[in-house]
């Protein structure tokens, strides 16, 4: 979690940072059937159990699809990347990646999770959250 309490963080409950600095997304894990969702739902889509726990996902997943967004709502400084990443637990997650990585990306690449700026708040302040980055290269 962020050490600086003045930082504006969007959904800090959705990611966790371990002592090594590795960031992992926090998914919902059904204790009844083992199914994962991101974010956590109230009931499991597979078995309808409501015994769902927070569980960190693997630190990396495979890049499924991506784009570079050039025009967006005013609170998002363009350009920024958006990617869908498939994690081994069977969840597909969408998050931003820094535009600087766009040219380097290849479908199937291993993507890790980091924390970085994602949008501007009402007063123009920087808001951070989970983001992807290419692990290799």
């Amino acid at each position: 979690m962020s050490e600086n309490s003045n930082e504006h963080i969007f959904r800090p409950d959705l990611f966790t940072t371990d002592d090594n600095g590795t960031v992992r997304l926090v998914a919902g894990h059904c204790k009844n059937c083992g199914y994962y969702t991101f974010p956590k739902y109230l009931a499991c889509p597979k078995c309808f159990s409501d015994d769902i726990e927070d569980k960190p996902l693997s630190p990396t997943g495979k890049l499924h699809a991506y784009t570079l967004v050039r025009r967006s709502m005013p609170q998002f400084p363009v350009p920024y990347g958006l990617a869908l990443v498939d994690f081994p637990e069977g969840v597909r997650v969408m998050a931003q990646f820094d535009a600087q990585y766009y040219e380097r990306l290849r479908t199937g690449m291993e993507m890790g999770v980091t924390v970085g700026p994602v949008r501007k708040g009402e007063g123009g302040e920087e808001i951070k959250s989970y983001k992807f980055y290419p692990v290799e290269g």
């Binding site: 889509p45 499924h64 967004v69 969408m94």
Partner: protein
């Protein structure tokens, strides 16, 4: 389940009319549909009004303008499928025996709330809060589609060229000027690989249909009544790594198969289709989901001009969402009106020759976790 027929349809032009509130557009379309049907307005027993952003009581506020007060009015929202969902509601209110004559209306004025850019989505969705808009989601579909099947930017641009060509023949279309592959690709990039003209415009319109039961149709119909052969509505299911984002939509395929089964027909029986081409890549993906071709082959239908006017399965003769426009709540009923016009032989210079059976598809909204919000498919025949 009873037979249901369309007696009349009406529609406004599609464009930017910030001065015309939804009730002004809506009353024009509703009145036009009633006049087209040739029935006394008081025969309408129930009305449904599809919309997304038009505020409280839009159906009632609209219909009071043409004297329709007192009867139940239900305002219906299903993202981009709101208009077709309104039609499905009207259809089932008659099919299951509760009413005999119903009005399905769809209205939307987007230009009052947006000058341009992506539609405002629900910020409670984490993806939306992190910068996902519809163009970005479809851009990712396009990126993967191009990689999987070797589809090129030029091929995606051809979809827009076809769309404008059809719209040039459609008096109510928003964008009627023909274009070229080069022009489409030189347009500003919104989210790679989708350029601006590969995204549907912001616009306003309304459209409506008057429906009645099979028992009343011979008594009431002034023009050729159009039969609702099949009509189905479903919602999206969860998606995950078991499917590619560029796979044909499971939601569309599921909804379509229900409509085909009700009609006792298959994709090969369709003469024309009005589908949800909110972005260029959406059109080939929907044709795959509707069973017009196998997975990955949707772009070939465009290349071979089979989906162009003159082809064997004309898709979006109106110009579709890309060129006719996508005033969200009205779209489904604009699509319905278009099919009715072709089946009646009233489609003028864009008439699909010998049209006997048409299919309408809308799939509303999109989140990465779910395969669309609402999907409605209807099949109409003569």
């Amino acid at each position: 389940m009873r037979d249901v027929y369309i007696l009349g349809v009406g529609a406004t032009r599609c464009g930017r009319f910030p001065d015309k509130g939804a009730y002004i557009l809506g009353r024009e379309a509703a009145w036009a549909a009633i006049e087209d049907a040739g029935i006394h307005p008081r025969k309408i027993e129930i009305a449904f009004c599809g919309h997304v952003y038009q505020g409280m009581g839009v159906g009632q506020r609209t219909l009071k303008e043409i004297g329709l007060v007192g009867q139940p009015v239900v305002n219906v929202e299903g993202a981009c499928g709101s208009g077709t969902l309104s039609f499905w509601e009207a259809w089932r209110s008659i099919a299951y025996g509760q009413y005999d004559v119903a009005l399905a209306l769809g209205v939307e004025n987007l230009s009052r709330i947006l000058s341009g850019g992506p539609l405002p989505l629900e910020e409670d969705d984490v993806e939306v809060a992190l910068g996902m808009g519809m163009p970005a989601l479809y851009a990712m579909r396009a990126q993967r589609y191009m990689e999987e099947y070797g589809v090129t930017n030029e091929q995606l641009a051809k979809i827009v060229v076809k769309s404008r060509k059809h719209a040039a023949l459609n008096p109510i279309a928003q964008y009627r000027k023909e274009t070229t592959v080069e022009e489409v690709l030189n347009d500003p990039m919104i989210a790679d690989p989708l350029t601006r003209s590969q995204c549907c415009p912001i616009g306003d319109a309304a459209a409506a249909a008057v429906l009645c039961s099979g028992e009343l149709v011979s008594k009431l119909a002034k023009k050729t009544p159009i039969k609702v052969l099949g009509c189905a509505a479903q919602s999206g299911k969860y998606t995950g790594p078991d499917r590619l984002v560029c796979d044909p939509s499971e939601n569309v395929a599921r909804t379509a198969s229900m409509a085909y089964e009700m009609a006792g027909l298959g994709p090969e029986d369709m003469d024309l289709a009005e589908v949800h081409d909110a972005f260029s890549v959406a059109e080939p993906l929907v044709t795959e989901a509707l069973g017009f071709c196998e997975k990955g082959a949707g772009i070939r239908l465009i290349e071979e001009e089979r989906t162009s006017l003159g082809g064997d399965i004309v898709v979006n003769p109106s110009g579709g969402l890309l060129s006719r426009g996508h005033p969200i709540g009205a779209t489904g009923l604009l699509q319905t009106a278009e099919i009715v016009w072709h089946l009646r032989g009233e489609a003028g210079r864009r008439q699909v020759e010998g049209a006997k059976v048409g299919i309408i598809e809308t799939m509303g909204g999109a989140q990465p976790a779910m395969d669309g919000i609402t999907c409605v498919v209807s099949i109409l025949g003569k």
